[in-house]
Amino acid sequence: MIQEAVSFTPQFAVAPVTKILWLIPAAPMVAAGVIALLKQPQRRTAAWLAIGSLSFSLLLSLMAFAHVVGGWAAHHAVRETVNFTWMQVGAANIALGWILDPLTAIMLVMVSFVGLLIFIYSVGYMAHDENYTRFFCFLALFAGAMLGVVVSNSLLLLFMNWEIVGLTSYLLIGFWYQKPAAAAAAKKAFMTTRVGDVFFFLGMVWLSAQSGTLLFYNHGSGALEGLALTGLLAQHAALGLTAAGAIGLLIFAGAMGKSGQVPLHVWLPDAMEGPTPVSALIHAATMVAAGVFLVARVYPLMQDGAAAGGTTTALIVVTWVGAITAVFAALIAIAQNDIKRILAYSTVSQLGYMMAGLGIGGVALGMFHLITHAFFKSLLFLGAGSVIHGCHEEQDVRRMGGLRKAMPITFGIYAIAMLALCGVPIFFSGFWSKDAIIDAAQRWNSSVVPYYLMLFGAVLTAFYMTRQVSYVFFGKWRGHQPAHESGKIMLWPMAILAFFCVALGIIGTPAWPWFDAFLGNQAAHLQMGAFASSEFLMMLLSATVVVLAGIGVAWWLYGNKSPAAGEPDALEKATPWIWAGLRDRLYVDELYGATVLAFYEWWGRVSDWFDRRVWGGAVAVVAWLFSLWAELNRFLDEQWVNGGFDKGCEELSNGGGLLSEVENGRVQIYLRILALAVVALAILLIWSSRA
């Protein structure tokens, strides 16, 4: 990597485009609000509103991006913020705000661009759905909230958008609400991510209490800079963590939920119950990557004062979680038969790479894979959608086959995305982003195990993708009705994404590490010599071996001879035990069902029982004692006192009797107690006033 001694000057002056940056998330949100008021038949209006608003956001995002790139070219570290007071408590302000810096600029363009393509694709994909307008309403709300996450300059505002993103994910997974599986998957997604979110919430209130602000940057007084950060680093929490590291890890728990990191990954495969454009946009390209973005955003906390590339407890945790997730999910992906579930586990695995990249090498390493992955994985999903559409809503790869003839364009595009995911060297963006992470892991000074884990994961990735492509596009057609190619409105967005699956690699090569330099506020220079360095050649070699191994073994097992429906899989014949374990997702869901969920339900019943029997029983006993005492009292009253007081009580209860059908003797007793109390009060008061 080329580092030059060009010092970047900070740029805080707020440009006009930054002043209106809030319009980027606001436009789709407003569109969502308007669409919500439309009637079901106004389909075209709904689609146009959604697409129009997101086009507007894309335009503004490009302007913002151009502004930041312009600043970068002039050696300015652009970090422009606009903050405002949202609430006032005591003497303190709770402020929100938005920010424009390189990280935001890149994410804005990616989210609005990929989002727009998927919106357009959805026009074709959802054409026959009766709830078309509602679909675009939720989709636009999602886009707005996701863009809101990206522009937030306050952890609180980010959290708020983050939860709205979670809501839209919930609504869209359960879009076909009449399917019980979809409704269950939606709930599971929301709850699993909320487990992470409550830790995130705690981290947020802690950060707010500790540093007095939730703004990230505010001319030196934000939580991630200056005195506030120094204070967080100086404060010791527990387990050898500083307050910064502990808060960072709590926030990371939220990121684990959204980004499907083990052990909170269980919701993401089930989320495939949603319509395929949703899987492409939310559960592949953007929302699930929001966790990675969040970690990148609060990186100064995770970094815990260490220098770039240094290891801290928080970063070590992030790396291990990522590396384990990368392998764990890739293993399960091998034995899945649903075309979208294979991709879902693949997404989980790739998110693991991104997290590990953040943990090992810093913001740029993880973020670059986030961007390239967004393109090729959303393309894979759109391709899968095209296949599902062409095969009459069939999702089981065992009932497909030979589709390269029936759907040649889809096949070509899918192949590009698949090669990008496998990380085929030089020509595909996935190589540049993923192998850079693996390469950096080799030199990580904490442990080499993550390196081997991720290397193994890369073999598995090539393997399961080749298996999937063989099942779907090669061999003989095993379905019922003949398949057909999809329409232009679906193919065009795919073609554009395919172009970027290849082209994006250019901005992240060792010879011209523009992406790295841009995010890190450094100058980038073209230096072809980097391609001849031994480091790069070793990386190229290992990547080639890995990809060839994965593709080769899979092709040897599955190529052109995928088993027909009902026949066992090639691996199943060889190792039925391992196969069964992987097919059943390594029993994580069963484990949770038997432990956490069982406890939750059991404790709910215990709480209810406790309420009814123990507390209720205690109350009954006390009530019984009281009525006993009251009965005694009445007896004494009637037998001994027999005065006007008793009569007064009689009248009181008669009044009650007139008003209602009060026949419950007990009530009269209670009214009597009340009367007694009042009289006692009066006597006491009179006595005391005399004294």
């Binding site: 609430m87 408590v89 003497a91 709770i94 708020m160 409550v198 209130v205 009340l674 009060l681």
Partner: protein, 505 residues
């Protein structure tokens, strides 16, 4: 004193309406509606004309029986005024929801309006005797509303409600008599000042011995039942589920706030030191209320019981913040934490009132269409025949879940923002409540609105226009507070600062 006795006017207004409604026959509903609207307007007038400094305003003070400490002494700050507005809104909602009352409507609306008047009275009183009168009086209409118009097991439920609350009141009364005997005062403001200077404890010790802690427990007992604090809550699920839904709206929306209000107006100012002494066990109870309240909802099969327990959980957050802030603090950060917690409590009282009342309103609408059926497992796929009902109830359910952008998130954030630094263990355990509440609410959505639509609900009628129109402002309030909380906080915060300046822990 102002030229117009606006607080007295507000309290008397519903009483006049109540008398008219009693004799209005079939026009009773209209009378109640107009009266409730008038009350809302007056309460809003009070809200906008609060004194800027956050202190007590619109004071009315007339000697009543000065020799024995009785005074007609009214006044409100933002805390009281917000409760007036809330009571007025909830009463209006409740009257609108009471379509189904065909049996003696005159008497029904008479009780509803009387209850509103007593609520107003208790939220404006600044003298114990006066306050206690309204506190007890409010039980009477509530009791008869449950007893006469409730569900099949209304008898025992109404009785339990009455005795339980009254048992708490007796403890409260005895404790306050002791205070009066020691100090000769029933004036909240004066007693607060005495508590702050330490004179109160001295006086009590001089007259009665070292019993301050016991008196504090007595006062707390009264409020513990009303809020309720687990384990003094067992009256609540039965009462909320057996009361007719519009009455449940009043109970949970407005009456449950009397307890929290009492903690803030009476218990903390006068017995702050004693509460701070008992802070640890009280926090345990608060956390139990948050977590067990939510958890008990898991096993319920009746929508009303589910929302009843969820109500316990939501007020539990208020308790968490109230007991967490009962500790001496130092420095700017400490005061900010206290202020955040107290702002959160007051806003949460309002938010919970609106949201919980709206939830029971939806139950009322569902029951109207099903002839009373409201079991969790009796439905399914209702979203298909009734998309608008599903959408609007969804918004309210998510408000209850604490979704950002809607009202409850703001107050829950403030409560945790304040409580976490004051007692991080209690706050950390309490987030479990956020998780379980979410599970419970999503389960309701799944069971009621998703899945295949059974044959019997295929023609389930959706909300008609008048219902949508009535709900729109409520949902508007939820969004407005969720997005621009400063609208209310700008008025609440000065009162919070003012209250905290007079409390001693």
């Amino acid at each position: 004193m102002n030229g117009i006795h606006i607080l007295t006017l507000l309290t008397v207004l519903p009483l006049i309406g109540a008398v008219i409604a009693l004799f209005a026959g079939k026009h009773a509903r209209g009378v109640a509606m107009i009266t409730a609207l008038f009350c809302l307007v007056v309460s809003l007038l009070i809200w906008v004309r609060l004194p800027a400094g956050g202190g007590i305003g619109m004071v009315e003070r007339v000697a009543w029986a000065p020799s024995i400490g009785f005074e007609y002494y009214l006044g409100v700050d933002a805390l009281g005024a917000l409760m007036l507005v809330l009571s007025a809104i909830v009463t209006l909602m409740s009257v609108d929801a009471s379509h189904r009352v065909h049996h003696q409507p005159g008497l029904y609306y008479c009780f509803v309006l009387a209850l509103e008047s007593f609520l107003f009275g208790s939220f404006t009183a600044l003298n114990f005797f006066h306050w206690f009168l309204f506190w007890e009086l409010s039980l009477i209409p509530a009791f008869f509303l449950i007893k006469l118009w409730g569900g099949p097991r209304r008898g025992p439920a109404a009785t339990q409600f009455l005795i339980y609350t009254m048992a708490g009141s007796v403890a409260l009364l005895v404790a306050f008599l002791a205070v009066f005997l020691s100090t000769g005062s029933m004036d909240f403001i004066q007693l607060t000042a005495m508590a702050q200077s330490g004179a109160l404890e001295q006086a009590i010790t001089a007259h009665l011995g070292p019993v301050s802690l016991w008196l504090a427990i007595g006062v707390l007992a009264g409020f513990a039942v009303k809020v309720p604090i687990i384990p003094f809550h067992t009256w609540l699920p039965a009462t909320y589920s057996e009361a007719p839904s519009p009455v449940t709206m009043l109970l949970t929306g407005a009456m449950s706030k009397m307890g929290v209000y009492g903690l803030l107006r009476i218990a903390l100012p006068i017995f702050g030191v004693q509460i701070a002494e008992m802070r640890a066990p009280l926090l345990v109870l608060a956390v139990a209320t948050v977590v067990l309240g939510a958890w008990a909802a898991v096993a319920q099969k009746d929508l009303k019981r589910i929302f009843a327990y969820s109500s316990v959980n939501h007020l539990g957050y208020c308790l968490l913040a109230i007991f967490a802030l009962a500790v001496p603090v130092y420095g700017v950060a400490g005061h900010t934490n206290q202020a955040a917690a107290l702002n959160g409590v007051i806003l949460q009282m309002f938010n919970h009132g609106i949201t919980a009342a709206a939830l029971f309103w939806f139950v009322a609408m569902i029951q109207l269409r099903t002839g009373g059926i409201r079991g969790l497992n009796d439905f399914g796929g209702l979203r298909k025949p009734a998309p608008v009902l599903a959408g609007l109830m969804g918004i309210v359910l998510f408000s209850s879940l604490g979704l950002p952008g809607l009202n409850n998130f703001v107050s829950e954030f403030l409560i945790f923002r304040g409580s976490f630094p004051l007692n991080w263990v209690a706050a950390s355990v309490s987030v479990l409540g956020l998780l379980i509440t979410a599970a419970v609410i999503l389960n309701v959505i799944q069971k009621v609105f998703s899945g295949p639509t059974p044959e019997r609900w295929a023609s389930f009628p959706d909300l008609h226009h008048s219902e949508r129109l009535a709900l729109a402002p409520i949902i508007g309030i939820m969004l407005l507070i969720g997005l621009v909380p400063q609208l209310l906080l700008s008025t609440i915060n000065p009162t919070v600062v003012n209250l905290l300046a007079h409390w001693r822990f």
